[in-house]
Point group: C2
Chain length 185, copies 2
DNA sequence: ATTGTATGTCTCAAATTTGAGAAATATTTA
DNA sequence: TAAATATTTCTCAAATTTGAGACATACAAT
């Protein structure tokens, strides 16, 4: 059982690191409403914190994605759930996505995380191809592009949640409508 | 006339700061292929560099946006040009957009930059409303949401340019097609 | 009330980052 | 080529960030 404080530090760290990987740890401590000393009690050093964040984010994000895939056997519903899962994971999703995209990252399917990433994106591809065969998705668009679009919509929806006055539900519906229409034939 | 080196430093700084505002200056120097010493000759300190970046990015991004607006008097063409301008500005666009969105930013239309930002977004809104009246854009979507979507598509297209094998032209076309279909009635 | 655990405060040394001087080298311009 | 300018290299002190010890407080569980 992970203590609530530790959890809070990880959450803040994910949020802060997400657009400022070199941010001073003080910034994360402030954000989590703890002293820097407390942060250092939970994490040996910056490196460990980053690693833990990556793992935490991978785990929760992967879990949500896999659940989304398994929530239905209709490809369209699966895709919709994946979009919502991404939005719900918030900053974690961008982190997750970035992580496996950046050039320093040496992809390696022996690694459990990479294997899961592969699992998710194989399924994603599978869903898209199926929808294309059913004539529900534009065949002029590569799955590669649709993946980019998918993550773009997730990201901007997450950002939007912070600035807009709309309810989460409304925003998600807008996101899904826009996405679906964008990739429709 | 700004020296090429200074220009290069600013470019790198915008790129690096864009997802790591606290990055060590060494990282920017490396990216710009100069020594940290050279960087320090052009910029008194980190703060000055950040300020100069903001200004540079505002100027070039604004110029491109305004040019896009004025490039045509067909609303749809204007919107398309604005999307491409955003993509061409690359990292600058996200920076520009973020800058005026973050809560520390105190919007103030006495400020020339804010005034220009307002000018651009007034026009953007105008274009959307006009397209909605012509039945070319979905009236269920607020301009607020369309703006979010717009910047989301720009951002992910810029990211995509770095990872994908597709040509810039192809990607831009995909972006525009997806965007237009997403907001169509 | 007492014990144990978690967090905060204050402190400090080590590590890193920052900004700049001085002289050597490279590059441009006349 | 010579002079002028820009950049690099090496160096160093100041500032900031990092990680941790020692002890004080707060708070929950028994």
């Amino acid at each position: 059982m992970i203590p609530a404080t530790k959890e809070r530090i990880i959450e803040s760290a994910i949020k802060v690191f997400n657009d400022d990987l070199s941010a001073p740890l003080q910034k994360i401590a402030d954000n989590a409403d703890v002293t820097r000393r407390t942060l250092h009690r939970y994490f040996k050093d910056r490196n460990e914190l980053v690693t833990v964040c990556e793992r935490a984010m991978e785990v929760s994000c992967k879990k949500a994605m896999i659940a989304a895939i398994q929530s239905s056997d209709h490809a369209l519903t699966q895709l919709e759930s994946m979009l919502y899962a991404g939005i719900d994971c918030g900053a974690k999703y961008s982190f997750f996505y970035k992580l496996h995209q950046r050039k320093e990252h040496n992809h390696n399917n022996q690694n459990k995380n990479c294997a899961d990433y592969d699992y998710i994106y194989r399924h994603f591809n599978h869903i898209i191809v199926e929808l294309q065969q059913n004539g529900k998705v534009n065949t002029d668009m590569s799955t590669e592009w649709i993946q980019i679009l998918h993550s773009g919509i997730v990201q901007s929806t997450v950002n939007a949640q912070e600035t807009t006055s709309k309810s989460d539900k409304e925003i998600k519906e807008l996101a899904w409508t826009s996405y679906m229409k964008a990739i429709a034939p």
